[in-house]
Structures are given as C-alpha cells and as structure tokens.
Subunit: 344 residues, 2 copies
C-alpha cells in the first residue's frame, strides 16, 4: 500500500482556504491574515505536507539545485572542496547535483549535456582541461540561459566566468625563495600537466623565484609531471640519478609529494636531511606519520564555500556581466623542516 504524499489541494481543503493561500503561506508571502496562516500551518503539520519541487520548479522555471562537476572525487583535495561546497549549500538551502568526470573530457561533455535537462540554478565546475572548447561552449550556453557558472581551481581560457582560484604562483615563488634563502641552488620541480592552470602557475612561480635570484633554469631539473604518484616517483628516481642531483625538489601537488616520498623511501633519502622536499597542499596524514614536510597550503573547504557564495551573488543580480569576478585566495607557507639544506 503506497500512500500518496499530500498535495496543495488537500492542504487547501483541510485548511478551508484556496490553494493560492496555501502557496502564499508556503512561500512566506506576508499578505496572508494571521488566522489563515495558522490554519494552513496546522493542515500542513497534520498532513505532513511538503511541496513538490518539480512542480514548483516547472511553474517558476527556476530551481534550488546546483550542479557540481568534479574531476576526481577520490583525490582528497576534491573531497575537501566538496565538503566546503556541501556545507555552504546546506546553509543556503541549496541542493547539490554531483557529477564526476574522472578527468575524462568525454565524460565532462556528457555530464554538461545531462545537466541541461535539470534547469539548474547554477554550476560549479573544475574543468578537466583549461582549453577544451566544447566544455567552454557549453558553459557559455548555460550562462546565456541565465545559469551562472563558477570555475573552481582550474580556469579556462575565456574570462567571462566567475572563478575561485588560489595564488599558486606567489605561493610557489615564496616556497622556492625560501629554499634559496636556505642555501639551495640546485632546485628541481615536478610540474603538473601544462593544460591545467594550477600546473602552469606553479611552474611560473618556480621560474620567477629562480630568475629573480639570478639562478639559471636547468632544464634537467624541470620534470613534466601529471599530478600523479607514479610519474612523480619516476621523475624523482631520475633526479637522484643525475650526475649532479638537486638538493631540493618542489612537488607541485599532494600526489606528487607522495611520489617523491616513495622514491625517497627506496633510496633511503630522508626529506630535510639528505634532500629537501617542498610540497603543495597540506597532507594531514603525513603529520601523523611524523613526516615533517613543508608545503604551500591553502584553505580548501574555504575555496568551495567561496564558489558557492559567488554563485549566490549571481542569483540575485540578474544581468550577466561581460567579465566574471575572479576570487584569488591566498596561499601560506608552512615550514616543517623538510626545506633544510642537506648538511653534507
């Protein structure tokens, strides 16, 4: 026996008013007499009524759902992001439609198509690639339909979208400068993919620091990585095998840090003793294991929250601006010892 949910008509009947009045009460329109209001509220409580979102959404052609597109749910960075997003959404009474792309552009395109069916209120996305024209076009489409888009962490070439990023360039610049201050001259970097903004930015910070301190860039110290453990692992081994190995390695993201540590472990290299290691993004687990790895850190849940707020702001002001707002959150340096110059 499947009992139906009550609808607005039943409430109206129970309360002895019209459905319009019920609707007004449900939407806190204040043009309702206290008496009617109370009767409706009683009926709602009695019949355990909850308005049907689909109907409301159809009628108003708006919705309370936000589409969130994440490339790799499994990466702790994105979990944290998601945590910030869900928390903010909860506060604002918005709901999250979650889509995972598994870093596949093809899936991203499909997802963006599916999302059209849902007439979402807005979209928060960390795009797979910064140069994907299909994705960009679809995102444009959403915006021109009045569905604001916020880019998170990764930007695309177009500048029309709101976006939340962090000052990675500056963070890495300061990290590498710190290494230099500690006496390092042979500093390697394992980069991220260069079709990703974070990848490029972090490399830029590295280059900037070296150049500014008059240290020539050494191509064999610049390893093209992909933000994955394995690649970083192999690069690290190769770096160690160099005739003139670096005294410090900058790892461009948390997975890269793990890759370095894996190689270090095999080679019995102690970070901060035999070779310096500097990471990007905090890895809480390492602290528990007594690894004191210095890193450029940022408030990740905060990034998610900011993205939500940015979206929120767009909801109110109807017009679509030519140029999106860019929120750039600061990064911070945490020095834990692994930045030190090897003594020997």
């Amino acid at each position: 026996m499947i009992k139906q949910e009550a609808n607005i008509y039943e409430i109206a009947k129970e309360a002895g008013v019209s459905i319009a009045t019920v609707s007004r009460v449900m939407n806190r329109s204040c043009t309702v007499s206290e008496k009617s209001r109370q009767r409706v509220l009683d009926a709602v409580a009695k019949l355990n009524y909850v308005p049907n979102n689909a109907a409301r959404s159809l009628s108003t052609s708006t919705s309370t759902s936000v589409g969130v597109v994440i490339p790799d749910i499994n990466n702790p960075f994105f979990s944290r992001l998601l945590q910030g997003i869900t928390r903010a959404a909860d506060e604002m009474g918005l709901n999250i439609f979650l889509f995972g792309t598994d870093e596949s552009s093809e899936r991203e395109h499909r997802v963006l198509e599916t999302m059209r069916e849902h007439r979402l209120r807005g979209i928060i996305i960390t795009p797979v690639s910064c140069q994907d024209t299909v994705t960009q076009e679809r995102l444009h489409n959403f915006q021109s339909l009045g569905i604001p888009v916020v880019l998170l962490d990764r930007e695309v070439d177009s500048t029309v979208f709101d976006r939340v990023v962090t000052d990675d360039d500056e963070g890495v610049y300061r990290a590498v400068s710190e290494l230099i201050r500690r006496g390092h001259r042979k500093i390697a970097i394992i980069t991220g993919p260069d079709d990703s903004r974070p990848g490029r930015e972090r490399l830029r910070g590295y280059c900037r620091a070296l150049e500014e301190h008059g240290i020539a860039l050494n191509p064999s110290y610049i390893c093209k990585g992909d933000f994955m453990v394995n690649c970083a692992y192999e690069h690290t081994l190769a770096l160690c095998d160099l005739p003139e190995p670096p005294t410090a390695i900058f790892a461009s993201n948390n997975m890269t840090t793990y890759g370095c540590l894996k190689a270090f472990g095999e080679r019995k290299i102690q970070p901060g003793v035999d070779m310096a290691l500097f990471g990007f993004d905090n890895i809480e687990e390492l602290g528990w294991l007594n690894y004191n790895i210095s890193a450029v850190i940022r408030d990740v849940p905060q990034m998610g929250e900011q993205a939500m707020r940015l979206l929120m702001r767009r909801f109110d002001s109807r017009e679509i601006p030519e140029k999106g707002t860019r929120i750039c959150l600061p990064t911070e340096l945490v020095l834990r010892g692994s930045e030190q110059m090897p003594s020997k």
Copy 2:
C-alpha cells in the same frame, strides 16, 4: 539577452508533427514512423532541444535522481564509496543528489526532510547512527511512498531495508586468527563506536577469534575507540604503557590505523618489528611510504556500485517487500609483514 531553451511545442512545430509524436521519439517509443522520427530528430538537433526534467518528473511523478547521504565526505572510505556510486549512476543514467551530514544526526534529519521535496527515485544512505529512531521512521516513510532505500555499510536495527555491507566479523576473525597463528597471545583492539554496526561487528570478530583459540579476553586490551585518529593515538600510548603491553594491535578502521602509527612513531615502535599492527581497510598512501601494514580489505567502490544495483532492482519490481535484501560482500586479508611476532 537570455535566450530560452526550446520546448516540445517548438520542436513539434519545426518538425511539423504533434507534441505527442515528439514525446514518443524522445522516449524511444517505437510506434513512430521512421519518417516522423527523422523529422523530429532533425528539429531536436537544429534547436538543440533537451527535455525539461522537472516537467517530465511532474507528469510521470517519477524521477531519475537518487539521493545519496554520506556522513563524512572527507574520509577516503566514503570518497571511494561515492566514486563507485557516481560511476554506477552514470552508467544507469541516474543523477546523484549529494547530501553530507558530517556525522550529525540533527543534520541527517534535516537532510531527510529536504529530500522529500525532490520526489527522488531512491535513496542510498550511510546513516549516522544505527539506532536513530527519527531517521528510521523517515526512511520507512520513503519506502512506503515507493521510494526504495538502500543502507550502505551501516545498518539500522530495522530489517526492512535493502543493504550492502561487508563481512567485517569474518574478516577480523581471520585477521586475529592469523595473529594468533603467528604466536600472538596478547592482542589488543581499538574498536569503533558501538552504536555503529561496523564497530560492533569488528569487535565481535576479534572476540570470536580469541575465544575460539582459548585465549581469555583481557579488558585492558579492548579499547573503546571512535574511528578517529586522536582517540586511537591515545589508546595506543596507553597500551604501550601497560605493565604487560600487547604484542599486537588491531585497528578497527583506517583512521584508527593512523592513530596507532602516530603513537608508534613517537615511541619509536616499528610496526611488524617491535609490535604487530593489523588494520581495517586499505590505505594506499601507506604503501607509497613504505609502510607495510597488513589489513582486512574490501572492494569499496564495488560496495557503492552494488548499492546502486540494488536500488535499480527495486525500481522495476514495484512492490515493497517485508524484508530487505542484504548483500554482504567478502573481505580479504592482505599480509604485508606488520602482523609478525616481535622477535625479542
């Protein structure tokens, strides 16, 4: 300028057919002539038409959205779960409404209320507590409205729901038996909360193994934990300080394992050398760091996928059974060395 999305009428006009025909084509009803079909498809392509989900959902009083309720998005176990869920959802053309409860019952109740508005197709939930009557009642409500519920990892007392769990009892039993086989007699366990099924089950497996091997339970070896790092850390320190410390510790989940390792690090205890350590759930990161921690493992994404499949199955068979299906996935032992008996 906000251009509207095309609706079914425009497609009908463009294709020179009625909206019914358009609807039939969109829903793959095969009673349409090839000629009409083609005309409609052309119009759809030309106007870039996507059906409005809200309207469809209202009309059919069904939906393609599944509510997923997760207690701690940040815990890698749940990220993995979510990965399995999203992947399966993607395959089945379902969409995920994600809700986080942050392990708060109060938020869980709110979330369950919100979900009613959405007339979801089904619900997958890892409830905060197994004994929460409010949650159970609300879940019942969904089921009696024809919205099937699948419990993931944590069960509630009621048995009317479908659920996906793993054979934790057996897994821990085998792990502890293995420890005993290796000569351990003084085996401690740091448990999970006892209002959680996994917590209780894992403790049971531990007790069962000891009893079956004629080893008396030592209350000071049974530490009441909460699946969190800190608590496990403190318990581990206390265990080490015992006049007669254990030779092995069983950590009831991944966070507990981290807590033990943190304490081990401080005390210069090498897992598998000075004291044995056995964990629950694999921690990939530890492998990269050359920690060879034995563990009871399970296929976590698979759990999420199974939950989706279970839900799917319910969609077809309309009736609500008295008793839910219980899928119990196996666990596996991975021996990496940390189970060994200290030589001294």
